[in-house]
């Protein structure tokens, strides 16, 4: 009899704790989703509608905000600049980090291990510490206030994490594969291109996603290095538009919605890879 009782109360306790779990999760989901809901929904309302009833769905949607963003602000220009610099930096990081990692894994000398460590050190150090000298350097190179001046910075910034992820991944690839290719007469670059790169696709995806999110969302380096309107990235543009539209909440919210949409859409499509990539990038050490 006591056994039955125990089982029953244990089950009841389990059910109660599960109820509690759902309560916590649902409450947090509300805290996360409501601000985003308000951002998107209100970007389709007139400013007076936003102030009167921010929580309701737009009855007669207006597109003035989006029109303002495209016509008054240089949104498309900012977007183009961000896409350009992000794509260039991601491709660059993937390529350079993959080449280096390949050698760091197979080059069997002490120097290679020292270089690996040297790259790993960069994981713990925020690049912003170097800002003062970066400004002076870029000015000397004539790259200050130039979109492309961001490229070497983003390449350097992505390198430690890229090298770490890719060396770890290359180590899991059986050496026999490489030896077989070598015996078949493939040179080391051929082995890299036709054996290593295709195999490294999942690790490359992690590197790409981490850099995509950090570079796309970066405000610091554009803010300290770029002034001209034509060179601005999206996030720098957003800060500008936020100031320009001020009390015109429709336009402000349209700006925020548009700036968020690309990454948010990608995230919803590939949420597992995003979570993996960003967490791996965060842990780093």
């Amino acid at each position: 009899m006591p056994r039955v009782n125990d089982g029953g109360s244990a089950r009841r306790r389990l059910r109660a704790s599960r109820m509690g779990s759902y309560l916590v999760l649902c409450a947090w989901a509300v805290v996360v989703l409501v601000p985003l809901y308000l951002m998107i929904v209100n970007s389709f309302k007139s400013t007076s509608d936003i102030f009167m009833s921010p929580f309701s769905f737009p009855k007669n949607p207006v597109f003035d905000g989006f029109r303002m963003v495209f016509e008054e602000g240089h949104f498309l220009l900012y977007l183009f600049n961000s896409v350009l610099i992000t794509v260039l930096a991601i491709v660059g990081v993937m390529l350079l980090a993959a080449l280096a990692s390949y050698a760091l894994v197979y080059w069997d000398v002490r120097l290679a291990r020292a270089v690996s460590l040297f790259f790993l050190l960069g994981l713990m150090i925020p690049m912003r510490i170097a800002s003062i000298n970066l400004i002076i350097m870029l000015k000397g190179m004539g790259l200050l206030d130039k979109l492309l001046g961001l490229l070497p910075i983003y390449l350097a910034m992505g390198m430690p994490m890229g090298v770490m992820i890719l060396t770890e991944y290359f180590r899991t690839i059986p050496r026999e594969l490489v030896q077989a290719a070598y015996i078949d007469g493939a040179g080391s670059f051929r082995i890299f291109r036709s054996v290593m790169l295709p195999l490294a696709r999942p690790a490359m995806a992690t590197v790409a996603i981490f850099n995509l999110v950090t570079i796309w969302n970066d405000l610091w380096f554009p803010l300290i290095l770029i002034r001209s309107e034509g060179q601005r990235t999206l996030m720098l543009g957003v800060t500008r538009l936020f100031g320009q539209f001020q009390t015109d909440w429709t336009s402000v919210l349209a700006t925020l919605t548009l700036a968020t949409a690309p990454i948010l859409a990608l995230y919803l499509l590939l949420s597992r890879q995003f979570i993996e990539g960003l967490t791996a990038g965060a842990i780093k050490e």
């Binding site: 170097a130 970066l134 070497p152 390198m159 430690p160 800060t239 919210l253 995230y267």
Partner: protein, 318 residues
């Protein structure tokens, strides 16, 4: 490394005979990555540390001044109060994250790692959404939410009869920094959640089955099986929280401006560094790069020291 390197070497390079693995040409693969990394990270970092001992005008720092910048930073009547204010605020900012973000993250992870929980995937996706947003977007969005006149939060508080709580949250010196820290915790809680979840899911299922057979209570399972896995992860999360927050800038810049308004109540090292070393003080607008480099160096040293202390604390247990 000490024992017979020749053995290890020949073992590695078999069956090729010739050591393709030892050819110097491998270095060419490393060179591009290394060059970019040295030129744009290692070198400017060390130079920035060096520049903290120099002074000058504009972009040319050519006068060696010894520890002058540090003396000004720590003791000058005009400079030091701002620095110490920002330094203290950065600690507050960090501790709110430790307390709120990491506790929530641990709680979510304990819930989400239950394999029988339905909808775990959905909640995981939701919890992580803010982490993918740009910090500026998060900051601006919450600034609007908290607007004292038109913000939906105060509107809601008014409607449910809590009008007394409808404060200008970002306008009061006492509330602005905690509120900004909470917004930032809202954004980054996904990271500790995922780290703890991954750690908990690495526990083999039979441990739980064995515990169940032995009649262990839920609390016993948590304390005896889950906690030993979680504690070392707390070190990782602690280090991450520390480096992330001592380096923060965007969220304060977007919610409280470059001055950490009102009255520097939300000013942290990131915004102070930006004002002093890069933007230049209003209204002159000429940056003091030597002083800025000193702030960066102090941040850097604090980071290193903090990371070592956290490491020591959490590793010491093993």
């Amino acid at each position: 490394m000490t024992q017979t390197p020749g053995m290890a070497r020949s073992g590695r390079r078999s069956p090729w005979g010739v050591g393709i693995y030892r050819r110097p040409s491998w270095f060419l693969y490393i060179l591009p990555a290394l060059a970019v990394y040295v030129a744009f990270m290692a070198f400017p970092l060390l130079s920035s540390l060096k520049l903290s001992f120099y002074s000058g005008s504009g972009f040319t720092l050519d006068t060696f001044v010894g520890f002058d910048n540090y003396v000004r930073l720590f003791a000058d009547a005009d400079v030091a109060p701002r620095f110490w204010g920002a330094f203290g605020n950065t600690w507050v900012f960090f501790f709110v994250h430790m307390l709120v973000q990491n506790t929530l993250g641990l709680m979510f992870a304990l819930i989400l790692s239950d394999k029988r929980l339905r909808g775990a995937g959905f909640f995981r996706t939701v919890i992580f959404i803010p982490t993918t947003l740009a910090i500026v977007v998060t900051g601006f969005l919450w600034k609007l939410m908290l607007d004292p006149n038109f913000g939906p939060i105060n509107l809601l508080l008014d409607r449910v009869g809590l009008g007394a709580l409808a404060l200008p949250w970002l306008g009061l010196e006492e509330t602005t920094l905690p509120i900004i820290s909470l917004v930032s915790s809202w954004q980054w809680v996904g990271i500790p959640t995922m780290i703890f979840t991954a750690a908990l899911q690495s526990i083999p299922e039979d441990y739980f089955e064995a515990a169940q057979i032995d009649g262990a209570s839920g609390w016993q399972v948590t304390r005896l099986i889950k906690l030993p896995i979680i504690v070392p992860m707390m070190g990782v999360v602690g280090v991450l929280t520390f480096t992330g927050n001592f380096n923060a800038f965007d969220v304060v810049y977007s919610m409280a401006g470059a001055n950490g308004a009102p009255n520097y109540a939300a000013d942290i090292l990131g915004t102070y560094f930006y004002r002093t070393g890069i933007a230049g003080k209003h209204p002159v607008g000429i940056p003091d790069m030597g002083l800025g480099a000193a702030i960066a160096t102090v941040t850097f040293v604090t980071l290193l020291a903090g990371v070592m202390v956290i490491r020591r604390l959490t590793m010491g247990r093993k």
